[in-house]
Every structure is written in C-alpha cells, then in structure tokens.
Amino acid sequence: MSAHLSIRGLEKSFGAVKATNNANLELAAGELHAIIGPNGAGKSTLIAQIAGEIRPDKGQILLGGRDITAVPAHERPRLGLARSFQVSQLYPEFSLLENLAVAIAAREGRSFGFWKPLSRDRSLLDPAFAYLQQVGLAPRAEDRVSELSHGERRQLELALALAQEASVLLLDEPMAGLGAEESARMTEQLMALKGRYAILLVEHDMDAVFALADRITVLVYGETILSGSVEEIRGSQLVRAAYLGEEHA
C-alpha cells in the first residue's frame, strides 16, 4: 500500500520544550493507524501540526504525495483532511442540525450565502440529518448542543468530521471522558468506518486501540520510537517499559 499521508522528520519546539522531535509516520489509504504514548508525549501537538493549526519548525507533511507543510489550516479540509478535537469544539448555541449544516455548507463552498435561512435549507438539513443518523444522534437533531451530554458531544464531534467527506480523518481522543458503554459504542462506530477512510487515531483507551488499529505508532517525548502491528506493539519490551507499564502493569 502506498502512503496517503506521510509525516517526515517533524520537529516543533515551544521555548526550551521539544514538543515534537523527529516524528515519522505513514498512513495508507483505508488504514486505521493509532498513535499511543504517555501523557505529554505530544500527540495533540502532532495532530495540530498535521491539521495546520501549528506550523512545524522542521520536517514535511505530505498528503497524496503533495507537500502541504505550508498550506494554511483553513485550506487543508479542501485537500481531504478532517479532524476532531480532544476537547469538543462545537457551536453550543446552535442545534445539532445547524452545527452539521454549517459544516456541509463550508465543504460545498456555499458559506457566503447572505439571504436564504440556513435553518430552513433542505439541501443542507437533509444531509445533516443523515450524518446524525449515522452516529445515532438523530433523535436529538433539533436540540441545542448546550443541552447535550458529554458522550453525545463526542458523537457529534465524529459526525462533524464525517460531514467533511475527507479522505483522512484525524481523530484526537474520540473516547476522552467516555464511560465503558459509550466507549464500546464509539469503538463500534469507528469499526464501521474502517476501510472507508484513512484514519489517524490518537487514543488512550488501549482496549479500543487494540481492537481497532491496523498499525500502531508509539510516541514518546515527541518522538516516534516504534511502529508496528498490534501484535508487535503488544509484544514489545520497549513499549512496555516506556508506556504500557504505566497503565497495564
């Protein structure tokens, strides 16, 4: 398989702290690639660089063979990158449908509409509803996001990423703060997405990672120290020492 997204020698420092230090990664089309690592390993910083929110000091990000290192964040979705956030970034004052409608209008390049009410635009609301169905939020479509539970917000994060119809999904801890039951449901939903997208998954929930991932990369102190299949990572002494020891001892 050819790499759809590749990260080469990425480096980023904040003052004296090296948040990313020689990070390398290959993500093939249709592959679900998990990034694991202890707290503070720089996982979110890495995602932010791929999404374009943070400009790396050094290194390259290639998408479909094209160097996108210098492409601004707001242009990357058009190239096929969509992301979700570790801390939900939603529009709390809007309804779920409206949240998705904004995303769909943006994807279709129709955000500069000044007259037609978004909340009555069937060409946006119908597909919006379909995404909500996909993540099981259809019953709450008309509610305001501020009324949602934490678990429901995580689902909506996923729906927004899906609505961008990107080829690569960057999912930053989709299970953050979820209970066992909610995590299981999210795992199931991600399982259903496997193969249709190239997914880069940052996650702490090891059961989910081992169930979902095709490949796993371990990030420690901003450095990608190891990449391999689930079995290889499970068996690695290095990983046990560096990371799993802490949580799976």
Binding site: E53, F85, A101, A105, A106, S111, G113, K116, P117, L118
Partner: protein, 341 residues
C-alpha cells in the same frame, strides 16, 4: 402569536402612528425626536451586528457615521458653492450622493477592518478606536470644510416622488430605511454567512477546521455594519443639515455601544430600543438639569452591572424559550495578561 412578533408589531405601530400622535398633541418636536431615534437606532443595530453576532467589540463605529455624513456634507458644499469637485459639478440627488457616500464607507470598512482584524481582544477595541480618532482629527483639520466647526448644509438631498424637506416625509423615509435595515440584518444572521459569523464567536478552531477563513467572514461583517452606520450618517447629515467631526468622535462610538447594551446585545431590535431609551433619557433628564449625565452615568452603570439582557431581554422575559442566542455570555473571557517590568 409569539412574544417576539408582538414586540415587533408594537414598535412598528408606534413608529407608524407617531406623526398622527404628534399632530394630535400638537407637539411637532416628537417627529423630530423620533427621526433622530430611527437614525441612531439604525447605527446601533449595525454595531450590534458586530458586537452581538461577531463578538467584535468595535470602539470606532462612529467613524462610519461621520464619514457617511461628511460625504453628503462635502458634496452639498461643492454643489451649493458651484465649485466643481475634481471636475464634477456635484449633485443634490440622493440617488447619486448616497450611493457615493456608502461606497466611501465600504472602502473605509475594508481598510479599517482588514488592519484591525489582525488583532483581537483589547487590541481590537483599541485599534478601532484609533482609526476612528484618526478620521476625527483628519476631518477636524479640513479647514477648507470648516475644520472643527463642520459644514452647514442648505437643503436636504432630493429623492424623486418625495419631499425630504417635509418633516413627516423625511421621518417616514428614515423609518422605512430602519425597518428595511433590521429585516436585512435578521435575514443576514440567519443565513449561511450569519451562522459562520456566529459560529466564529463560539469556536474559532472548529470554524477553521471546517475549512473557513475567519478574517473573510469578519471583514465582510465589518463592512456591512459600516454601511449601516454610514447610511445612518447620511440620514443624520440630511436631518440636522449640519456635519462636524464630532460625528466621528470616540464619545459617539461610546454612545452607540451604550445603546446596544441598554437595548440588549445580539437582538438587533433591542439596540433600537436602546437608542430610544438613550435619546429619551437625554431629552427628559436635560429638561430637569443640564448636568443630566450625572444621573445618566449611574443609570448606565446599573444596566451594565445588573441588567444584562437589556430592554429587549426584559420584554422577552418569561416568553417561551427564546431561540435567539444570548450573545453576551459567549464573548471571549478576559485573558489577563502577564506583567513583566
């Protein structure tokens, strides 16, 4: 009928019937007061577009009010003096002068907005203030056009089919433009563009991650709001037959902000009510004492500190679940800054 529609209709009826009432009471000054109110209401509602929906606290909105007025004033000056302006003999037709003034306001909005939007938070407040002060001083230095004393106009602009020098006709024109502006703004905030603008206020990161560039939307809103205030300035020049740099002074920007907050941030109609309250209080309190600000200051303070939803919020209180966003709470929290000597 929802509470919101009742309020809309009550306001509309008041504006529509006012000249009749003024005639009945034999108080023609009421028409004049309400003309001022409609003009300021339009400027305040346009500022609300920025503050309430875009979380862009502009402290320089009076710049547009002043520029709109000055373009009318300067053209009138040249036309009356039979003194060509760059080869153009001038015109008194509203259909020519007003679009010209709006064009100038749009250009000002583009430049001022583009530069100001490079900053955010307190710096944004200050740089918008700086731009309007710049304009204020530039207008004041135009000694050819009266300097600080401004320009007196001989007559109002002409519109086919209307006699704007007639107080009632001019009043109804102002009201019609106000109503049109409010309807346009309501439509705007509910449109796809409006949702992006309001979305930026709630989560800029999300909006960028959806593939939208914030500045484009904010700048567009800045220009549109500037056009609203510019139109108000145009009307003011015609109403008062006088323009001066004070129209662009920072006190005027402060007044507009006070109107927005008195009426209710993020409600559009609220700021019109806020303008009514402000001008009404000015009228009443100054009958009572020339030191009317002595009473108005504490009153404004009370509203800011305790009446967070403004007049519109008060009227809507208890109405079934307001759909309109409570804009204030979503303004970005203070980022206290580090001190390093």
């Amino acid at each position: 009928m929802s509470r919101r529609i009742i309020i809309d209709l009550a306001c509309l009826a008041t504006f529509a019937l006012l000249p009749l009432l003024a005639a009945l009471l034999d108080e023609p000054f009421l028409v004049s007061l309400f003309t001022r109110l409609a003009i300021y209401g339009m400027a305040a509602a346009s500022l609300d577009l920025l503050i309430g929906y875009g979380a862009l606290v502009s402290f320089g909105h009076a710049a547009f009010f002043g520029l709109g007025g000055y373009v009318v004033g300067i053209v009138a000056f040249h036309t009356a003096q039979l003194m060509p302006l760059w080869g153009w003999e001038g015109s008194n037709s509203a259909l020519i002068v007003w679009p010209l003034a709006l064009l100038c306001c749009a250009l000002l909005g583009l430049v001022m907005g583009y530069l100001s939007l490079r900053t955010s938070g307190v710096q944004f407040i200050m740089i918008t203030l700086a731009f309007s002060q710049m304009l204020y001083f530039i207008l004041g230095s135009l000694s050819f056009y009266g300097g600080d004393d401004g320009i007196l106009l001989n007559e109002r602009n002409s519109l086919p089919g209307l006699d704007l020098n007639d107080a009632n006709q001019f009043y109804y024109l102002c009201v019609a433009l106000l109503v049109g502006w409010l309807l346009f703004c309501r439509r705007l905030v509910g449109s796809r563009f409006g949702f992006v603008l309001r979305g930026l206020k709630q989560s800029e990161r999300r909006t960028v991650s959806l593939g939208l560039q914030p500045v484009r939307y904010r700048l567009t809103a800045f220009v549109i709001a500037g056009l609203g205030a510019g139109l108000a300035g145009i009307l003011w020049a015609n109403y008062a037959l006088f323009v001066s740099p004070d129209m662009a002074a920072w006190q005027k920007s402060g007044e507009l902000m006070a109107m927005v907050i008195l009426g209710g941030v993020g409600t559009l109609l609220g700021p019109v009510l806020g303008a009514a309250a402000y001008l009404g209080l000015e009228q009443l309190l100054s009958l009572w004492t020339e030191h009317w600000l002595l009473a108005f200051g504490p009153l404004l303070l009370l509203v800011v500190l305790f009446g967070r939803q403004g007049i519109y919020g008060l009227l809507m209180k208890g109405a079934d679940k307001p759909r309109r966003a409570r804009a204030r709470s979503a303004l970005p929290p203070l980022a206290a800054q580090e001190v390093r000597p």
